[in-house]
Amino acid sequence: MQLLEFQAKELFREYGINLLRSISSTNIEEGRKHAKELGYPFVIKIQVPVGGRGKAGGIQKCQNDDEFELKYPQVMDLTIKGEKARAILLEKMADIKKELYLSLFLNRSKRCYTIIASAEGGVEIESVKNQIIKEVGLGEVSDELAKEVAKEMGLEGNTAEQFVDTLKKLSELTIEKEAELVEINPLAIMQDDSIMALDGKFVTDDNSNFRHPELQKYQEKTEIEEQAEKSGFSLVELDGDIAVVGNGAGLVMSTLDMLSDNGGKPACFLDVGGGATTESVYEALTLISKLDRVKGILVNLYGGIVKTTVVAEAFLKAYEDNLIDLPVFARLKGTESDKAKEMLQGSRTNIFDSVEEAINAAVMGVKK
């Protein structure tokens, strides 16, 4: 999961990384109190788990009460890349001399952790110039290496010392919390040559969650996502009207692509895992029945050793129980598919031999 800025900063604080004063709130009443505590000027920052906040107007300077009353609700109402504000962070305005870039992340192709640092930060990583790149195995950063990075960045004196300290704390944090990415951008040099983390990005390895109960409070899941996880499914909600269900992440992604190519709009990505049983398909339909926007269900199951009659039973049961009243367009590859078709005759489930046919029918079907 990707933490929000203020959550990442909670972890930074715990590890002793320097921060400006900041307070998060979820409504304007709370915000007003915080504004008094902090005093102007400060910055209003939207808290969403995606990048590009500045460009989208999600970060606003604030000099006085009038500006606050105008801007707080504006920022709160923004939707950035489909993400609504989870909170608003008010942070003291900083007197910055220079903006640096620093991150420690899992380098997938090199299969090791890697430091990227630059004396020219404050822009998106793709545009950061003069990147200093160091591979660091499982994430351990030695004193010598940290000093080397500081030197290559041209840092000196107290600033260099503080940078070394920050990098080592970042390494400790990455290892102990099993992060995939920790980024400070910008890491600022202040007028007094001290160093402060002005922003924070933190992505955890969800597969290590069982070792990190302390991070669970940051877990943000909708009721449906939680249920999906309990059933061992993966679910990503999307904003279209055709629910896409299948077995195996690759197959479902592929189905999503083909549906989009044919003008369909997926309402969700639902992977029920490698196998498919009457129970798992019934559970998938239960989840989908809770999404209001769905007008049709596209099912793509590559059975292998699965009997398609078993899957057909799940559809029949779902109609019988009044769980769904939606048309289902299914491609079921597996054994006994003729018998499955027979079983579903007269129901609202249509079975097709190829996924292309199922998709075309689904796109036409929801238009009606």
């Binding site: 195996g248 292998g304 190829s354």
Partner: protein, 305 residues
């Protein structure tokens, strides 16, 4: 370089040629037991199982069970192992296998923490062993040996190598290939995790010099840059066998994990566009749907004739 055929098949002079022994870690669990049976039916020589506390028993009245990997390896001299334990026990099981001398480790579990995979890899490198996975369907030489969980129907012996990040897409696309008359010399499941024991480039190195190889199919998906690295490696190596790719996840939203831990686009990193454009640069056509793969492959073959 890894001689994958040497490991899976052996040499004609080996006493166990074409029947290399495989140890199943977690053979008494329902999942492990089911797939051990399926492997045996496929012709894989399952020589031992390991489940701590169940040593001395036999599985299916035929395969001896040991408490530890060391005992199993000592008794059978097997070099291949497949792991079916829950993700949180993977690291322990994998270390035990590598310490006992396993040279090809197939890691089936999904949801293994990245740190555990990396530690396993570090040890594997020291021991000169190969890891397939985690989160992989496994590896197979069709009609000879299957070390994995793939259903048998989609596959047929032949001369096309298939490398795939996804399990079900591997089945789907191999099925389409088989129906079009393209059998497979080997299929390697890379796995859907961010860190792979065998990356696409490693798998490519394993298959590129197969003497009678007639073509290669790469099934990739969004996330990471292993497809881009592979395309570059293909350009650099001058590999000229007909190759076709498929990339899943073109329509996926950014910064969302699409089922697989590794299937996530961050900025432009890991995007389908980036992968497709690199494959195009390597003169490798990218199919828009799985069914198109054999069509494009046949087209490439005509041209190279």
């Amino acid at each position: 370089m890894t001689d994958i055929f040497g490991l899976l098949k052996g040499k004609p002079e080996d006493p166990d040629y074409e029947k290399k022994g495989v140890i199943v870690q977690g053979i008494t669990g329902s999942y492990g037991s089911l797939h051990a049976s399926n492997m045996v039916s496929y012709g894989t020589n399952v020589v031992a199982g390991v489940t701590p506390g169940k040593g001395g028993q036999t599985w299916n009245d035929s395969v001896p069970i040991y408490n530890t990997m060391q005992e199993a390896v000592d008794a059978t001299n097997a070099k291949i192992s497949i792991i079916f334990v829950p993700a949180k026990f993977f690291l322990g099981a994998a270390k035990e296998a590598l310490e006992a001398g396993i040279k090809l480790l197939v890691a089936i579990p999904e949801h293994v923490p990245i740190r555990d995979t990396m530690e396993t890899l570090e040890l594997a490198n020291k021991k000169g062993a190969v890891i397939i996975g985690p989160n992989t369907p496994g590896i197979m030489i069709p009609e000879l040996i299957k070390v994995g969980i793939m259903p048998p129907m989609p596959f047929k012996a032949g001369k096309i190598a298939v490398l795939s990040k996804s399990g079900t897409l591997l089945y789907e696309i191999s099925d389409a290939l088989t129906n079009a008359g393209f059998g497979q010399s080997i299929t390697i499941g890379i796995g859907g995790d961010p860190i792979n024991g065998t990356r696409l480039i490693d798998a490519f190195d394993m298959v590129k010099d197969i003497p009678d190889l007639e073509g290669m199919v790469v099934v990739g998906e969004i996330g990471g840059d292993s497809e881009e690295m592979l395309a570059q490696r293909i350009i650099d190596s001058g590999f000229n066998k007909p190759t076709v790719a498929y990339i899943a996840g073109r329509a996926a939203p950014k910064e969302k994990r699409m089922g697989h831990a590794g299937a996530i686009v961050m900025g432009n990193y890991g995007s389908a566009e980036s992968k497709i454009s690199m494959f195009n640069k390597a003169n490798i056509p990218v199919a828009k749907r799985p069914a198109e793969v054999p069509v494009l492959l046949a087209g490439k073959m005509e041209k190279s004739d």
